[in-house]
């Protein structure tokens, strides 16, 4: 454990960095994303309060306080990291491109039923992600090419799902985790008479599968349901593409990844789609692409007893349990609309205007790419240009 002298020095370092953050905030033009600025100010005041207590603790020189001091110091550092990396970077790097995209992101939030959102902040140059740190102003990360390509736009609906989830995270987690635990409890009860050590091994495999579903993984799967529910086929299409790009073993469980395996995610998204979309021409194409992709990949392996077994952790019943619970949450939230419209034909798509719902535009983009690829480039260029100009 570091000494009192070490922590005394670090308090000086922390105070210097708080002063810097305060200076940066005071240099921002007035009216700059007030929600984000408010969150930073609240974090600064929390750090100041903790530093003041830390100084008193250090004066006592009591060794039994060192574990408390250490945790205090670590949480202070985490707050400072959040201020400098997660909050100030997007705030200070906001340029004209980011500002032009901000109203589109606000539109996505509105159309996805996130009515509490008053503002959004965009950070370009990163894979799609969101930081729901400021309650009414989520920060959306997007790659630079979103101004020229629709490819990653559907992912923003998954990110909007995180924003939705963050509003009632504990309640939604309670529903999802309870549902999945009950599912595995039923599996244990259904385990028939078995001789040892096979029985112990079976129970261990079920427990590993149950423990696999952490809060973060359950939330990720919920956000897939959210995106599939709000956006429909366009999100399922993104998933086939992402799986092609990144995964050769879509059923492999990677414990260092907080996302469930792609097969489980695709199955969940597909489960959440209305029947009409699954039977749509584009739906049939996506499903056949997915099935063809699966035949060329490495199937789930359950030979390693220390591994989490995909067939137990991500069985159709387990995924259905999580998907149904997620859909219940969404159906009980009147503000979140389901995409159950038809997919525009290429002819209809080519005539669409930028003020149409974004969900319709993204499904139209998918239809043109799948059914009339020769028209895609012109369609995409025109629509994205009009979309961004229309907002700015």
């Amino acid at each position: 454990m570091p000494t009192f002298e070490y922590f005394e020095s670090k308090v000086i370092d922390v105070e210097t960095r708080i002063d810097w953050a305060v200076d940066v905030l005071s240099g921002l033009p007035s009216g700059t994303h007030p929600e984000v600025v408010k969150v930073i100010s609240q974090l600064i005041s929390r750090i100041n309060h903790q530093v003041s207590l830390l100084k008193k603790l250090l004066q006592t020189q009591r060794a039994s306080y060192l574990p408390r001091i250490r945790i205090d110091y670590q949480t202070i550092e985490a707050d400072l990291e959040k201020i400098s990396t997660a909050l100030l970077v997007p705030l200070l790097s906001e340029g004209s491109k980011e500002k032009a995209l901000t109203p589109i992101l606000s539109r996505i939030c509105q159309e996805a039923g996130l009515q509490h959102i008053k503002d959004t902040l965009v950070m370009l140059g990163a894979p799609p992600a969101t930081l729901p740190v400021a309650h009414e102003c989520p920060i959306f990360c997007m790659p630079y090419e979103v101004t020229h390509s629709f490819r990653d736009w559907p992912a923003l609906y998954h990110e909007a799902g995180h924003v939705f989830f963050s509003v009632n995270r504990r309640r939604y987690l309670d529903s999802l985790l309870t549902a999945i635990r009950n599912h595995f409890r039923r599996i244990v009860l259904a385990t028939g008479p078995m001789a040892e050590p096979a029985k112990s091994e079976r129970l261990r495999a079920i427990r590993s599968a149950e423990n696999y579903w952490t809060d973060v993984r359950v939330e990720e799967l919920f956000c897939d349901c959210f995106a599939g529910y709000c956006l429909g086929l366009s999100y399922a299409f993104l998933w086939t593409d992402l799986s092609f790009r990144w995964y050769s073993s879509p059923q492999e469980i990677n414990l260092s990844d907080d996302h469930p395996p792609p097969s489980a995610r695709f199955n969940c998204i597909w489960y959440c789609l209305p029947r009409s979309l699954k039977l749509d021409g584009c739906g049939q194409i996506i499903k056949s692409i997915w099935d063809a992709y699966l035949t060329g990949t490495v199937p789930a392996s359950s030979s390693d007893p220390l591994q989490v077994n995909y067939d137990i952790a991500c069985s159709p019943e387990a995924i259905q349990t999580l998907a149904e619970t997620s859909l219940d949450i969404l159906r009980n939230t009147a503000t979140v609309p389901q995409y159950d419209g038809s997919i525009p034909t290429p002819e209809q798509a080519l005539a669409l205007k930028p003020f149409e719902p974004l969900t319709k535009l993204l499904n139209a983009a998918m239809a043109v790419l799948l059914l009339r690829p020769e028209s895609y480039r012109g369609f995409q260029d025109r629509l994205l240009k009009e979309l961004i100009q229309n907002q700015s």
């Binding site: 039994s64 670590q74 894979p127 990360c141 995180h162 995270r169 309870t178 423990n211 973060v216 996302h259």
Partner: protein, 135 residues
């Protein structure tokens, strides 16, 4: 989709719980050591800290026998179950601490159960912070 979003929420929530428990442990400890005045703490704060700790520990005890939807408690139960110390010993230590808090007969030494739990929580929190900001 980047790892940020779900993990950020997890780290945020876990950080809040860690802060609350660390603060409660500190206030409780200060009460035992007679440092409340020096640290500017009121009797009410010390009393509240005992309540925060015993409520959390009771929830943990209940979750050892009956699964819960609380992610942090579930994480801790899994850690306790997978660790070298037998679960029965954990239950006994936690029970003893809860009773000591209730009867206000705790001394600095028997805080070791909450110290160990805080260390587990802090390890996971630090790992999350590292994954968020240092990858």
């Amino acid at each position: 989709m980047s790892i940020h979003s779900g993990l950020a929420s997890h780290v945020e929530e876990e950080g809040e719980i860690l802060r609350r428990l660390n603060e409660a442990t500190l206030h409780f400890q200060a009460g035992i050591l007679g440092d409340t005045e020096l640290l500017g703490l009121t009797h009410k704060q010390v009393k509240k800290s005992g309540k925060v700790l015993s409520e959390f520990l009771q929830n943990l005890l209940e979750a050892i026998d009956k699964p819960t939807g609380d992610a942090t408690i579930t994480f801790l139960v899994n850690c306790l179950r997978d660790g070298p110390k037998p679960m029965e010993d954990w239950k006994e230590d936690i029970h003893r601490l809860v009773n000591a808090i209730k009867t206000e007969k705790s001394d600095d030494a028997n805080l070791s159960a909450i110290e160990d739990i805080l260390a587990l929580l802090n390890d996971d929190y630090s790992e999350g912070v590292r994954a968020l900001y240092y990858r």
